[in-house]
Symmetry: C2
Subunit: 666 residues, 2 copies
């Protein structure tokens, strides 16, 4: 700030929140959500201040304003609601409000029975100055008022004093404040506004080539089309496919990641590119581009979005290797550098060289891939290993795509170092994978979800919780059997407004790993086509369906904003609640984390947080089993049997005062 | 950042600390201190990184660099020492280090017994590229090395591999890194470097007109000159005077702030300005400007700085009122607006109007006052009520003065709202008054000093602890008698590297307030000349002298950097330690906060923090009483009698291993 120019701006604005890294990165909201902004606002001395929160949609030049209110200790708060997709700007403005100070002081003087005749003239002067800046009726009213309070013989002083405190006039003054010396917060902050699916959704991952009920050896988009109603019935919002592009044959991996591939083995969908095309082509055995577009439309009609996997890497057979050798690193022997994690070598994968001289050309081509699939109707992308690609590429690419298509959603597959994972979210990814798969104990889950929901992380990082993926079969699932799958399903679906399953393997509780201490599936679907029998005994289809229905019927589970943990005197039982902002929907989830034993304990609810009066009984209605219990007070007994259902998802129903009603729980 | 231009900069730098409000404000250090800088530094992928901390004195165009090291979880740390007064800039730079990656990978490949012949050629290529950017001997060495490792028949591979890992060559490569795509931290940060007195000093406040031992009714600078040796002997570094300017007579306040002033009453020194002059003049009864300059020089010779009080306010008789009526607010009746806190009126004080049209002229004049006193030799200023003057004025004024006179120190009298108090520190005040006077219980003291020393506050806010001032006689002192004064003295002098006393009243344990629930002294020196008899029985002169000597002899007490609180099982006893960075000087202070009763309890020391091995006995040497105790282990008994001394200031002396030495404690 050039102090010598701004010497008369007396107000300081500090510690604005939310503000990510000093405004370097935007915060995130979905349509209809509030942005609540707080800041330290103060000036020298003891004058009264006024402050406004300014906001505008990025496509509008005009600022709207909402007033901010003091919370005590110089902290102020204001809010606005984001009504349109895209992005908004927000900032703050505050000023010394001489009229407000004058009015406060006048009240004190009156109370002390001082002569206020000179003060009334001082007030009238402020009102006249305001009238001079104002037009029309307001100006007339103010002028008349100024005259009224400042002129007249001493006998009229009591009436004039009364009139000076007129609320309507104070309102008129507040409407036309003197903001010549207002301080504007130095940063113009940004909030990216996305569709509700960015916050709330259930994802189902499947390999279309293994689509159940298919007619031929290799599943097709048409098979998936026939399968769609089942996915819809289970209550999923997104159907996500691993890469659907032609698969290379050079160094193709066989079953169980065998470096030797036997003839006829299909290869990994992540080995992208062959003579038949690259990232803008479809693996011929899956069908045609037309089939794909049709599937996308069919899905949308059933409220299912098809999500594509974006993996920026190439098989040695990818057309880019031939057409753009400059986008790859060369080894001293002239060959192209394959992927490595020394001493491991991945000769079937060529990474793109983001440090190459033609990085601009590379960036444009990669973006054109996204544009291509958006043209085909895709609105949801899952990005493979974004943490191994240039960081600012993502910021640029996501910004460009979002500028043209603000409705498009990107899920980042970033199982990586925490700071890098968070930066990818700041750079524009809508959602992210995260450490949920490896948070299994009560302490681990509590700490992690407090970090995600109670720190500034909540402003830019949206977790999508996956108990399993084709790459991740956790030890907890390997050794916990069916109860472990139920537990992790309930945790994912109730702790996270967004969650996903690697579907068929999860429905069937597949839990054999390739080897001890590995999280790879035995006979992984990544390298072979699977024949899933989804009607197999013990499948979790009904439970998943029920859980998804509970999520759709209870808005509390559709956001992570009001997550509270409650105490249980048993380390194997975790309890937490979610509530809507007005607490008109409250869900209490209690989960037995021990897949092997019945566990019980005493739950100590924070009734305050739940909006329950300690004196009144309340009903807890287990939406999984349908059972209802009448509870009273904070301390309640819970027992959960993993052999049956290791969790309860209680809807809390508060008592209605009139007991004459039969159904008196709300 | 323009991403499209910086696409190849792969490293992100985040969460830099210290960095106050995104670099908006500088941090503070004194000469010889270290600046330890940490940041999150990471890139996409798995390549090795290198990072440097860059720093330069503001008057130098050339950056120096010191290497940063990883601490784990992508956190890096580096440091530099500030050797010159003034200000330094610092920032960070980090880059992907391909040679480091190559070398790490080579080691893994060798361990896995892979053929590395192509890898050696890849390494040689990196070395050759470096040689091409380099001159002289280094370039020759690198070229020879590249040739050596990359050429030769297969039989020489083991020797060449060995040679490739040569440390000297790796050092040479680190000396010439490829920093084309280095990321520079966006902000250039600032550290203000001040003299040691900014961190460590004991202040003594006195009214020169009440100087003990004076010849006439009104004390003079000459009297103070005679008094200086006593102040020096007591161990004070700063002798601070309330305003020394001519005192106005209009609305002059009488004894005990009486609105009616009797003839001959001297008035308050804060009623500045009369026909005899304003802020650049000296109250005639104190002496001449020449006397004052002489006093400043005499003081400096005894290592005492004279501190002046800067109060930007005027008596109605101040020359500015006549010469610059535009710097004051007018009331509607044409009179000048006096100070008010409605319904209270302070008609003897005219505040300056920082919103006036000629604010630039006002700022310049105020700054010229500081410049004037600096010309007279003053190096230390205490600023009265800075929180009622324009904030950016301070930033500008302190910046300008410090630019020309970086050795000058400003103490802010900001007993105000915490955020405003901190902002004044950020804007450039060297030190600040604070809430110490009202923090009396163990919990209050512990919480407050943790806030001051363990949060980012420590980087910009230096507390100067005053148990009393002419305005503040706390209830604790009023009701606790002499033991309360001893307790607060020890707390101030050991919790704070800087502390101060309103001297005569403190030495004599003056504790009569004007009325109940008031912190004003009865017969306050602000409104009358006092005849202090400093030899009165019960005076604290010896204790103060001893405490100041302990502070000078123990570097641990000269900084607040390593303050630790220790547990005592008695709420009335507080225990804390301070240590030098290398723990070669450790002071443990134990204080009885109850001025009325003997208190005892068990102290549980954090031996780890104190650098003491639990197995070894250690000596605690009470520097107040001279007593020595042999302690063993964390748990030790303490008892403190307020009637004697309510505190112990222990120097910890660790055992030296050779027990043959008689004096085996260090």
């Amino acid at each position: 700030m050039d102090q010598i120019e701004h010497g008369r701006l007396r107000v300081a604005i500090e510690a604005v929140a939310p503000e990510i890294d000093g405004g370097r990165h935007p915060i995130k909201r979905v349509i209809g959500e509030k942005v609540v902004v707080e800041a330290d606002i103060f000036a020298d001395g003891h004058d009264a201040l006024s402050a406004v929160l300014k906001f505008r949609h990025a496509q509008s030049a005009d600022w709207s304003e909402s007033p901010m209110s003091p919370l005590g200790n110089d902290r102020w708060r204001g809010e606005f609601t984001v009504q349109r997709i895209g992005s908004y700007r927000y900032t703050l403005e505050a000023w010394v409000d001489h009229f407000k100070s004058w009015r406060n002081d006048l009240q004190k003087r009156i109370q002390a029975e001082q002569d206020v005749s000179v003060e009334l003239r001082a007030g009238a002067r402020l009102v006249e100055e305001t009238a001079a800046r104002t037009n029309g009726e307001d100006a007339q009213l103010l002028r008349a008022w100024a005259k009224e309070i400042s002129t007249g013989d001493p006998a009229t002083l009591p009436q004039r004093t009364q009139r000076a405190l007129d609320n309507a006039m104070a309102g008129l003054m507040a409407k036309h404040p003197d903001r010549r010396f207002a301080t504007r917060h130095a940063a113009e902050l940004c909030v990216v506004v996305e569709p509700v699916l960015a916050r709330f959704g259930a994802w189902y991952e499947m390999f279309p080539r293994s689509c159940p009920g298919r007619a031929t050896a290799h599943g097709t988009f048409k098979d998936v089309e026939a399968h769609l109603p089942r996915i819809a019935e289970m209550g999923f919002d997104v159907l996500y496919f691993p890469p659907i592009h032609p698969i290379g044959s050079a160094f193709r991996k066989g079953k169980n990641n065998n470096p030797l591939c036997r003839p006829g083995e299909p290869g990994s969908p992540w080995g992208i590119g062959s003579a038949e095309g690259g990232h803008k082509s479809i693996h011929p055995e899956l069908g045609t581009l037309k089939d794909f577009r049709r599937l996308v439309q069919k899905g949308r009609a059933m409220k299912i979005e098809i999500a594509l996997d974006i993996a920026w890497q190439c098989s040695p057979d990818h057309p880019w290797v031939r057409e753009h050798p400059e986008w790859f690193k060369k080894r001293p022997d002239g060959s192209i550098q394959y992927a490595e994690n020394p001493p491991k070598k991945y000769e079937d994968i060529y990474p793109l060289d983001f440090e190459c001289d033609d990085w601009r050309g590379l960036w444009q081509e990669l973006k054109s891939v996204i544009d291509f699939w958006i043209e085909q109707g895709v609105r949801v992308f899952r990005v493979d290993n974004p943490h191994t690609k240039a960081l600012w590429f993502w910021e640029w690419m996501l910004g460009e795509v979002r500028g043209a298509h603000p409705e498009v959603i990107f899920l980042s597959e970033a199982f990586t170092r925490p700071k890098l994972m968070y930066l990818l979210a700041k750079l524009g990814f809508t959602q992210s994978y995260n450490y949920f798969p490896w948070r299994n104990t009560k302490g681990e889950l509590t700490d992690y979800f407090k970090e995600l929901t109670r720190t500034s992380v909540r402003e830019f990082f949206r977790a999508n919780l996956w108990p399993n993926t084709p790459d991740i079969l956790t030890q907890y699932l390997q050794y916990g059997g069916r109860p472990a799958f139920m537990t992790r399903l309930v945790l994912a679906a109730t702790l996270g407004a967004s969650y996903g399953l690697y579907g068929p393997a999860f429905e069937l509780c597949v839990n054999k790993a390739r080897e001890i201490n590995s999280e790879e599936y035995l006979n992984s679907e990544k390298y072979e086509i699977k024949d899933w029998d989804l009607n197999q005994a013990g499948n979790l289809t009904d439970l998943i369906t029920r859980v998804n229905r509970i999520r759709r019927e209870n808005p509390a589970l559709q956001s992570n904003d009001h997550l509270e943990f409650h105490t249980v005197d048993n380390e194997q039982i975790i309890a937490y609640s979610k509530a809507t902002e007005k607490s008109d929907n409250v869900i209490l989830t209690v989960v037995n984390l021990d897949p092997h034993h019945v566990q019980n304990g005493w739950l100590a609810l924070s009734l305050d947080e739940l909006g329950i009066e300690p004196a009144n009984a309340f009903q807890v209605h287990d939406l999984l089993t349908g059972e209802r219990h009448l509870w009273h007070g904070a301390r309640n007994y819970v027992q959960l049997n993993p052999a049956f259902v290791p969790a309860a998802i209680f809807r809390l129903r508060r008592r209605i005062r009139t007991e004459r009603d039969f159904d008196y729980f709300l």
